[in-house]
Symmetry: C2
Subunit: 341 residues, 2 copies
DNA sequence: TCGGCTTGTGCCATCGATTGTGCATTGATG
DNA sequence: CATCAATGCACAATCGATGGCACAAGCCGA
């Protein structure tokens, strides 16, 4: 079983059979010792120790493919994420990975560029690798992913954007948007003597944006300011879309307001590009709100208020639901941490 | 073989044996048809079509665990990344995933928090899942990862930070730092009438930071400005470290310069926090350079110049080396795109 | 009509790890 | 000394997909 060695590189990996031969015992003993249930199999401490030593010397690592096949349990868990272009998804991924590892699971994460086809393709690939469940984060079509998972008999969960066919954990978009909008309106009134509504930019009308717009409206009502219906622009998240939308707005709606509610940091990028090009002093004459947090923005600008979604609490809730294992499709809403700046 | 169904969820996945039974044929025919080499096995178009239809109806997905075990080829490729707290690593991961998928490979990526132990643990886990190679990006100890991979007989590659035991692709840190430093020195001279050296903040002396410091020195020499050796502070990348370092510098070195070379966007975060707290008008009286690019910073500040590392070209080079399959441990240096702002 | 060739399929061993089962020892007890 | 339980371990089947090989059926020319 021991293989030829070329240039210090083994052409073949060490298996439990190799270790068994080296230790003068059987593969089943090796397996039992190395995966920890050797006491159940009444293997002597002496043999266990010898096997462990030899495994160590050989730098043995289980073949998880074989293990998973036999156990019918892969210990792999999957997460689908839209993009890595912002701190929000970045921190979700970092935390998810860590929490998976803490539970002895192996996380595989893939970003799908907000592309529904890629999402489906990624989910199918994960199923082929026998993931134990899939978390669809900010998916464009969460229910489709749930359907695919259900057909394969594995669970799925939604994060950041809700679906109707799996449990969902998301921010309190209504509350967060309401608070943020109120703070921006207030600052425009106090600091810039602007008693006008805000422009709403970014996001897709079909997803959490609807709830945020509801919060946006509620805040205007709270402050007794009339919402400008023609200035609510759910143009998608991409920076360029936001930039174009504002260019268009300023060309076609002469009496538009100046403050803004921007629906993500990536949309904010487009907004800032537009500001730099077309309204370079806007940030000195009006406040902007951004639903999502970026520390660099926070440190560089006085007049951009942000809400920070509470990633740790969201992921705690997610893993609690994963552990619970019941079949209700509950929706858990987590309040954002706070609006800052 | 067909399993009981509960609540619309199959408790057991469909296998090629199930499909074979449904199609009235053998598992080997199903396998051959579904993985595309049915022509070699002279399976009739008619049977192939029937099998494909049934597989489709059943929503069949191969068990990659079984397939990989048998083929002795997982089609999984691994990448290790420090953190997701900046756009640079984010774009590396996005691009790597896409390029892996384009090649029919399944990427698994894990972030290791700049923790050497986690890096090793992650590499071992990937090896257990039989990855075909590992790319260590910005690793704190690339050679250790190379050693582990070599012991398992699989290839490894270094990205962003070089190692001596595997091919490496990285930015031209010397050239990039030299250009950036020169531009910042120039701007300090032109715009702020400061003819003084820069403070260097962030990074670890053992890694690419050394080359950047070399470029930093060269630029000072180019401009005939003496480097302040007591103001070169490779305090690590973490934001807090940079913040503390500057606090300490301003307390203990009274005649320090004011412009800065900051070694990453995450260090910049600490620098900006410190500026906001302790020197709120610094950005109006001195220019800062940052080795790494963040579009939001670019749009919000006039006086922060940045270099953008050329991720697409770096990854093209990486995959070229991966495809080449030769054993030299070459180091490829890619010039950054440009300094902007 | 018979051997030889092509075509189309099925059988079975195999990948490496896991686990139910069974079989020797050993020591204790009557 | 016989009996029995406890102890320590090995054997072999199994997970699902793959691919070498054998084999049957059909066809052709001699």
């Amino acid at each position: 079983m021991v293989q030829p060695v070329a240039d210090g590189i083994q052409t073949k990996r060490t298996t439990i059979y190799d270790l068994a031969a080296l230790a003068g015992t059987s593969a089943s003993a090796v397996s039992a010792v190395l995966n920890g249930n050797w006491k159940k199999r009444r293997i002597s401490e002496k043999l266990a120790e010898r096997i462990r030593r030899i495994a160590d010397e050989q730098g043995y690592a289980v073949n998880m493919q074989a293990s998973a096949l036999r156990r019918e349990r892969s210990r792999i868990v999957g997460m689908i994420v839209p993009m890595y272009d912002n701190r929000y998804f970045g921190s979700i991924v970092e935390k998810f990975e860590q929490m998976a590892r803490d539970r002895g699971l192996f996380p595989i994460i893939t970003c799908t560029q907000r592309d529904p086809d890629l999402e489906v393709q990624a989910a199918r690939a994960m199923l082929s690798y026998q993931v134990e469940f899939i978390v669809a984060t900010g998916a464009t079509d969460p229910d489709h992913i749930s359907d695919i998972c259900r057909a394969a008999g594995i669970r799925s969960f939604n994060l950041d954007l809700p679906g109707t066919k799996a449990p969902s954990v998301l921010s309190d978009n209504f509350g967060g948007a309401r608070t943020l909008t109120r703070q921006v309106l207030q600052r425009n009134r106090d600091r810039f003597a602007r008693n006008e509504p805000l422009v709403f930019v970014g996001g897709r009308a079909v997803d959490n944006t609807a709830e945020r717009i509801r919060g946006f409206r509620a805040a205007h009502a709270d402050m007794e300011i009339a919402v400008r219906e023609d200035c609510i622009i759910a143009c998608g998240y991409a920076a360029q879309k936001a930039e174009q939308a504002l260019t268009h707005l300023y060309q076609t709606v002469p009496d538009h307001p100046h403050g803004m509610f921007v629906n993500s940091t990536i949309s904010l990028e487009g907004v800032l590009r537009w500001i730099k090009k077309e309204q370079p002093d806007l940030l000195q004459t009006a406040a902007i709100g951004c639903f999502d947090f970026d520390p660099l923005v926070d440190l560089l600008s006085e007049n951009i208020l942000m809400v920070k979604q509470d990633v740790p609490t969201m992921l705690d809730a997610l893993w609690r639901i994963i552990a619970e294992n019941n079949t209700t499709h509950e929706v858990v809403e987590i309040p954002p941490v706070a609006a800052v700046s």
